[in-house]
């Protein structure tokens, strides 16, 4: 951005923040809160301009723009840096957490910091704060109550190896498809299911054509305020402290909001005829235990630590 060196007292700093979520998303509201926090803390010295809805390019391209310095902050998940480092594969390990509490405990602990530090060293990207996305669920056109029901299910997945492996291991027929085509795909029967956090089913109207949700909770994840590590290290201490504090405040706030909205989304979907089913996770966990074997050794180590809880 304009103030890439950001620092010397009195100097105006202008940052560009980009993400691929909509203007109403929690990600965008968190970005706005971060901008407010920073502006207040710096007495108007730091301004953050927000570009939602992939206006600056896909998140891959925005990350690259961060590295060359035309974008300063990008909101995305850990998995988004997997093409830079295998360590980011930790996000895609299925059925890793018992529940939301287990997930929060893990990432609030020192292990969470350790993982982020390792990712920074290997990829160059520093992932700060967290905007909780909630667990990913299985949203289908037919009821799925157990693993047997899911056999041969045509489920849309992003075109990534771990996703495909996971859903193949579960006996389904994973179908890579671009996100834009999911609604019409479900409507016409080209696919029978999609997997995402529950808000996705609501706000993309998927529930209208796929009114069943199985609480598989196969993945938990958050989005993070990503920075180019060297840029962050180049800031003076005062700026860094100001930034860290602003991000911490947003993270605390957004976790609370995310949990509230999760309940709200479930209530909305139930009112609109969606049937939720709890599954017995044991068989799902067992079917996918081997997936982690092909991961980076360090990731396997972390997985073992997390599973021990």
């Amino acid at each position: 951005g304009d103030g890439e060196d950001g620092g010397a007292a009195g100097e105006e700093i202008h940052w560009r923040l980009g993400h691929s979520y909509g203007p109403e998303s929690l990600e965008n509201r968190s970005a706005e809160r971060l901008a407010d926090n920073l502006e207040k803390a710096s007495d108007g010295k730091i301004t953050v301009e927000i570009f939602p809805s992939s206006q600056l390019g896909s998140w891959e391209e925005m990350q690259e723009q961060m590295e060359v310095g035309s974008v300063d902050i990008v909101i995305e998940s850990i998995g988004s840096v997997e093409r830079y480092t295998d360590l980011a594969g930790i996000e895609g390990v299925p059925f890793l957490y018992e529940d939301a509490d287990h997930y929060f405990e893990t990432w609030d602990s020192d292990l969470g910091d350790e993982i982020m530090q390792a990712i920074k060293e290997d990829s160059g990207f520093l992932l700060t704060g967290a905007i909780y996305r909630g667990p990913r669920i299985l949203n289908s056109t037919m009821p799925i109550n157990n693993l047997a029901d899911a056999e041969g299910l045509k489920i849309r997945v992003p075109n990534q190896e771990t996703y495909i492996q996971t859903w193949q291991a579960l006996g389904t027929a994973p179908t890579p498809l671009s996100f834009n085509e999911v609604f019409s795909g479900l409507e016409q029967g080209a696919i029978e299911a999609q997997e995402n956090p529950v808000n996705v089913a609501r706000f993309n109207s998927f529930y209208e054509v796929a009114p069943y949700i199985a609480n598989t909770n196969h993945l938990y994840g958050s989005n993070h305020f990503q920075l180019w590590g060297e840029t962050y290290d180049g800031w003076d201490e005062e700026t860094r402290a100001m930034y860290d504090e602003a991000v911490d405040e947003v993270s605390t706030w957004s976790r609370e909001v995310a949990l509230e909205e999760l309940d709200d989304n479930v209530a909305f979907l139930e009112e609109n005829g969606v049937t939720f089913a709890d599954v017995d996770r044991t068989e799902w966990v067992e079917a996918t235990l081997d997936i982690v074997d092909s991961a980076d050794p360090k990731v396997q180590e972390w997985v073992a630590q997390i599973r021990e809880g």
């Binding site: 390019g57 690259e64 723009q65 035309s70 498809l177 671009s178 016409q188």
Partner: protein, 416 residues
């Protein structure tokens, strides 16, 4: 640096700089003049415009269209249309429109269609007493159906830019395109009655059967490609590859007209068109980025919404704007540049983005007829060998019909 994006772009365009470079050059200049924008981002936007999976449908459908011309598929479609609708009043006009409708189901661009069908049908129409201006205007108009009926390059680019389902755009494009075709045939019939244009001899049942049999496989191509996309067997991009495959099989193995030499010629011709169109699309990514970081879309959105928040008025503004844009700007670039500006406005007043896409694409289809830059009309006028004002004069009633249809597509959904 919005001034550079507007004025700089216009100047470059007017002195005859290739459209792609006028777009890219103006964007780079604006990035240089803005503070703190590393130019690497310019290079990156160019790659971004090329490495998009949905956009890859474009070169494939261009290639498929080129192979179909060289494989004798186009000619069979015309023979079939002749046997099917030639015997109604104004028969050759109807043949022209029907051929373009079928061809439009294979090809994604109007330019190829205007030249392929015009070369065969315009001389025939003139021989049968149609004025050359009428023949040129009609062929140009009929060729624009190809950008509404899927596969359509314009619809693909809109779908990618606006992040809406290309499948849905295609679905509605098919209905609207076919409806347009039938209204045009009806109009041709009425005009033929007024002007006394003839019907062609009714062909024998045997001839109809023969041409149908000959064309049935060619007619199956749009069915297979569009059906496959519609029912989720493959995406639009994969559908492009399927279209290329069917063109090669049909032209090479069944009709046996597609020789190696013809494949090479088709390929080279397609590559030139691909290079020209894809460079514009890729450079338009630089422009869009410069616009967004310059804050233009939100500025325009605030301005337009300040005038009115009534969707009827907003849609009118959008239509007038795109009719003007279509007079001077190449359609694909127009979509990439103006969609990010107008989509937020449309969404703010509750206009469906799929609906908006169809409206924009129909506007730009009309732009293929309007001077000074109406490439379809330029091509058919040249084929007819007449001055432009003659075909423009004959195009006016057709433009009236097209604009009436545009307004029907714009406002009927609001009433439903």
């Amino acid at each position: 640096m919005p001034a550079i994006l507007g004025v700089g772009f216009a100047v470059l365009l007017l002195i005859g700089t290739p459209v792609a470079i006028a777009i890219g050059g103006a964007s780079l200049l604006s990035m240089v003049l803005s503070e703190g924008i590393p130019l690497e981002v310019g290079a990156q936007r160019l790659v971004a415009g090329l490495r998009s999976f949905p956009l890859m449908a474009i070169p494939l459908f261009i290639l498929a269209g080129s192979l179909m011309n060289d494989g004798g598929i186009t000619r069979r479609l015309i023979d079939f249309a002749y046997a099917a609708v030639g015997s109604i009043r104004g028969g050759l006009a109807a043949v022209n429109i029907l051929t373009n409708m079928i061809f439009g189901g294979i090809s994604g661009s109007s330019v190829a269609d205007a030249s392929a069908t015009g070369k065969i049908l315009i001389p025939q129409m003139v021989k049968r007493g149609y004025t050359a201006g009428f023949a040129a205007a009609l062929t140009a108009l009929a060729s624009t159906i190809a950008v509404v009926i899927p596969p359509s390059i314009n619809l693909i680019i809109y779908g990618v830019t606006a992040e809406v389902s290309i499948g849905s755009l295609f679905f509605w494009g098919l209905y609207i395109g076919v409806a347009f075709g039938f209204v045009y045939i009806l109009t041709a019939y009425v005009l033929a009655r007024i002007k006394g244009y003839p019907a062609e001899d009714r062909v024998s049942r045997r001839e109809l059967l023969r041409t149908s049999k000959d064309a049935v496989l060619a007619l199956m191509i749009p069915v297979v490609v569009l059906g496959g996309i519609r029912f989720g067997v493959f995406t639009a991009t994969e559908g492009g590859a399927v279209a290329v495959l069917t063109a090669v099989i049909l032209g090479g193995l069944v009709y046996r007209e597609l020789t190696w030499a013809k494949v090479k010629k088709s390929m080279n011709e397609a590559l030139m068109l691909i290079a020209a169109i894809m460079l514009i699309i890729a450079m338009a990514q630089l422009y869009a980025w410069a616009l967004v970081t310059g804050g233009i879309p939100s500025m325009v959105a605030d301005f337009v919404l300040g005038i009115s928040d009534n969707p009827v008025v907003i849609l009118l503004v959008i239509n007038v704007l795109f009719l003007l844009i279509g007079m001077v700007l190449e359609g694909n670039a127009a979509i990439i540049i103006f969609t990010p500006i107008l989509l937020p406005v449309a969404l703010a007043v509750g206009i469906d983005p799929v609906h908006l896409g169809l409206i924009i694409v129909i506007n730009l289809a009309i732009g293929l007829l309007t001077p000074p830059v109406g490439i379809s009309l330029l091509i058919t006028t040249r084929i007819a060998g007449i001055p432009l004002q003659e075909s423009v004069r004959e195009a006016i009633p057709w433009l009236g019909v097209a604009i009436a249809l545009l307004f029907a597509v714009t406002y009927i959904p609001l009433l439903l």
